[in-house]
């Protein structure tokens, strides 16, 4: 390990989900040499492959539609905080990406030759395309992976966890990574770098995340001098599966069931309750995610929870035939888990699902640091204080494509690699460090951080809880120390967790600090001590990392910030 491995490329794409793979494809189409890397396997490690439902896009295949309607719905859901140029890009270019995916053979569900578009909450008309049955994400992933494989100019490498971006003279010039297979430190020189690392929901105890969604990209960006926006807005998915234990399925799988068949949400006394919180669903599925989350938590707080601390979701009014018609083989997978929906309700509760906040980028996906671009869920701002269902995959595709193009253009203007090995020294030393001993139990520390975030920085917040969270995050940061423990070696999960915690704690601090500062309630951020939405808080909070401290700046000009 004395000589770290080194490679170079025009465009480095970090993260091989929907955003990263599309970025790689488009950068290569512009003629750039691309290196696409992931801490997991290519196309398998993140949220994209796990998504089961729908993709929102104004195709107008089902009912006449125009991107401006989708845009209006997106802004309304964002409750005044959307970075409008990003929201506009998402809505305007969505149809094009969806058609390109269609041409690549993804197999969007069709009826009579036309792509089917389903209705989803918050959208003014049927707008959501999908791949049956609950196969949207795997199909997106597989299609892009196939195109990546046949596109000349893209190299791929999995099992590479990026630890730091390498900044020289204020410019991002590549990255330093931990090679999981060997434990070695690797440097990558790049003329342009795209962060497509996805979200942060692994910070929470109950989540829909993979093990790779600890918010690495936000921490990498911050340490490189980029800023984050809207970090207080974590989306909770209201009806995540709670009980009985269900394996082999995504915990958010109930949404399409509820949507297609009108599942009933009931409290522990088997009463309907959402109408008490300002929404009368009356059999229809209209409640947005933030309101449904609020209603369930309030009902639990009032002592009316289901046995495992959530609410019941019941399909007992549906016939076996109707269930099978809507969900085909999924019914058999439920049966394997001893779940018969015609005879029993399941229990559901809010789980951390998506992050509205993220890296600040303009409509070219450029960050405030030259050479650094961002794409997908890693980017903040497009969805403001609350995201509409179906917007995240569209965002991944559209922003990915745009980031790949912008990065290739930037790289084309650079003659020689700006990377200098001496600048990467500190990061390489950290990756190769032998801090001695076994150190604390990193797996247990992650569990503790997740508990803190769930209990103190969940959907319902107040100053006392948020302060407790910040204190706890500080304690854990001290316990983690400055260097990983033990010597680098092959597939050392503890070492990876040490680097994960280094990022997770920084990002958790940014979420808690912005949540504490925002003294109002809006969208996914609900303060019990400040229950009203305040006009004066129609501002985005920008997070900087200065002299190893988080600094918050309020930016009323959300709209201009993201404009070019």
């Amino acid at each position: 390990m004395a000589n770290p491995l080194h490679t170079s490329t025009d465009v480095l794409v970090i993260g091989a989900g929907g955003a990263g793979m599309y970025a790689a494809i488009d950068a290569a189409r512009q003629g750039a040499r691309v290196l696409l890397i992931d801490r997991s396997l290519i196309g398998r490690g993140g949220a994209t492959v796990m998504a089961q439902m729908t993709v929102a896009v104004a195709l107008g295949a089902q009912t006449p539609d125009h991107w401006s309607h989708h845009y209006a719905d997106t802004l309304a859901a964002g409750r005044g905080l959307c970075a409008e140029p990003l929201a506009r890009l998402l809505c305007e270019e969505g149809p094009d990406c969806i058609r390109e995916m269609d041409a690549w053979g993804i197999g969007w569900a069709r009826r009579d030759g036309r792509i089917v578009q389903a209705q989803a909450p918050g959208h003014d008309r049927p707008r959501c395309v999908y791949v049956d049955f609950l196969n949207t994400g795997p199909a997106v992933s597989k299609t892009l992976r196939t195109v990546v494989n046949r596109t000349a100019g893209i190299r791929k490498a999995g099992d590479l966890a990026v630890v730091d971006l390498i900044v020289a003279d204020g410019e991002v010039t590549g990255a330093a990574a931990l090679h999981l297979v060997t434990g070695a430190a690797v440097t990558i020189a790049a003329k342009a770098t795209v962060l497509a690392t996805g979200g942060l929901t692994r910070l929470y105890r109950r989540n829909s995340a993979s093990a790779n969604m600890g918010g690495d990209g936000y921490a990498l960006a911050l340490r490189a001098g980029a800023t984050l926006v809207d970090m207080e807005f974590v989306q909770f998915f209201p009806i995540g599966h709670l009980a009985p234990r269900l394996i082999g399925m995504d915990p958010i799988m109930w949404d399409p069931f509820r949507y297609k068949l009108g599942g009933r949400l009931l409290n522990g006394n088997k009463e309907e309750f959402t109408s008490r919180y300002g929404s009368d669903e009356s059999g229809k599925y209209v409640l947005t995610r933030d309101l449904a989350t609020y209603a369930i938590i309030k009902e639990v707080d009032a002592g009316r929870s289901s046995p495992h601390g959530g609410a019941y979701l019941s399909f007992e009014h549906c016939s076996a035939a109707a269930l099978r018609a809507a969900f085909g083989p999924v019914i058999d997978r439920l049966a394997k888990n001893d779940i018969d929906l015609t005879r029993m309700p399941v229990e559901v509760a809010p789980i951390a699902h998506y992050h509205m906040g993220g890296i600040t980028a303009d409509a070219r996906m450029a960050t405030n640091v030259p050479g650094l671009y961002a794409a997908g869920e890693a980017v903040g701002g497009a969805n403001g204080a609350n995201r509409l269902s179906g917007n995240a995959i569209t965002e991944a595709l559209v922003f990915g494509r745009r980031a790949g193009r912008s990065a290739a253009e930037w790289a084309a203007g650079i003659a020689a690699q700006p990377f200098r090995p001496e600048v990467a020294r500190a990061s390489l030393d950290l990756i190769a460090a032998d801090g001695g001993g076994a150190g604390p139990n990193t797996a247990e520390m992650i569990t503790k951080l997740q508990a803190t975030m769930a209990d103190e920085v969940g959907p319902l917040r107040d100053a006392a809880r948020l302060r407790r969270a910040l204190a706890r995050i500080e304690e854990l940061t001290v316990a983690l120390g400055e260097r990983p423990f033990g010597a680098p070696t092959a597939f050392d999960l503890r070492r990876l967790e040490w680097f994960d915690l280094r990022n997770m704690l920084l990002v958790a601090g940014a979420v808690a600090a912005t949540a504490l500062a925002r003294q109002e309630s809006r969208g996914a951020h609900q303060r019990e001590d400040f229950p009203e939405t305040e006009a004066s808080w129609r501002v985005n909070q920008i997070v900087h990392w200065r002299d190893s401290e988080l600094a918050l700046v309020r930016n009323p000009a959300a709209v201009e910030m993201a404009a070019q």
């Binding site: 491995l5 396997l41 398998r44 492959v49 796990m50 490498a157 394996i247 082999g248």
Partner: protein, 110 residues
């Protein structure tokens, strides 16, 4: 009384010089073998190497191991209140404990 699963897990970095270690894991009906392995790491021994991403969705296909001699996904195989033998895949290069090199050759660092 809580029931337990007895997990007998192959540990090591060299197939010729491995050892079996036993762990007792509290058992709840419906849990997966991966739940048990993650419990061991958080509560008993974080040095145990396992590989997984999606945890629940059976989407990443990273968690393949041998359970009582048969290839399974650790995240969909059920934990049971009995002795279960867990070993790395026999037909892939070993990295550590239950982790083998599973990335396609074109997707490896070179």
């Amino acid at each position: 009384m809580t029931e337990h699963a007895q997990l007998k897990i192959w540990r090591g970095v060299d197939r010729a010089a491995g050892r079996w270690e036993r762990y007792e894991v509290p058992f709840e009906p419906g849990q997966s073998v991966l739940d048990g392995l993650r419990w061991i790491r958080a509560n008993r021994d974080p040095s145990l190497a396992i590989r997984f991403s999606c945890i629940n969705a059976n989407a990443c296909k990273e968690c393949m191991i041998e359970l009582d001699g048969k290839t399974v996904y650790a995240c969909t195989a059920r934990l049971e209140p009995r002795e279960m033998m867990l070993a790395p895949l026999a037909n892939k290069p070993l990295l550590r404990d239950l982790v083998t090199e599973i990335a396609p050759p074109a997707e490896r660092l070179s």
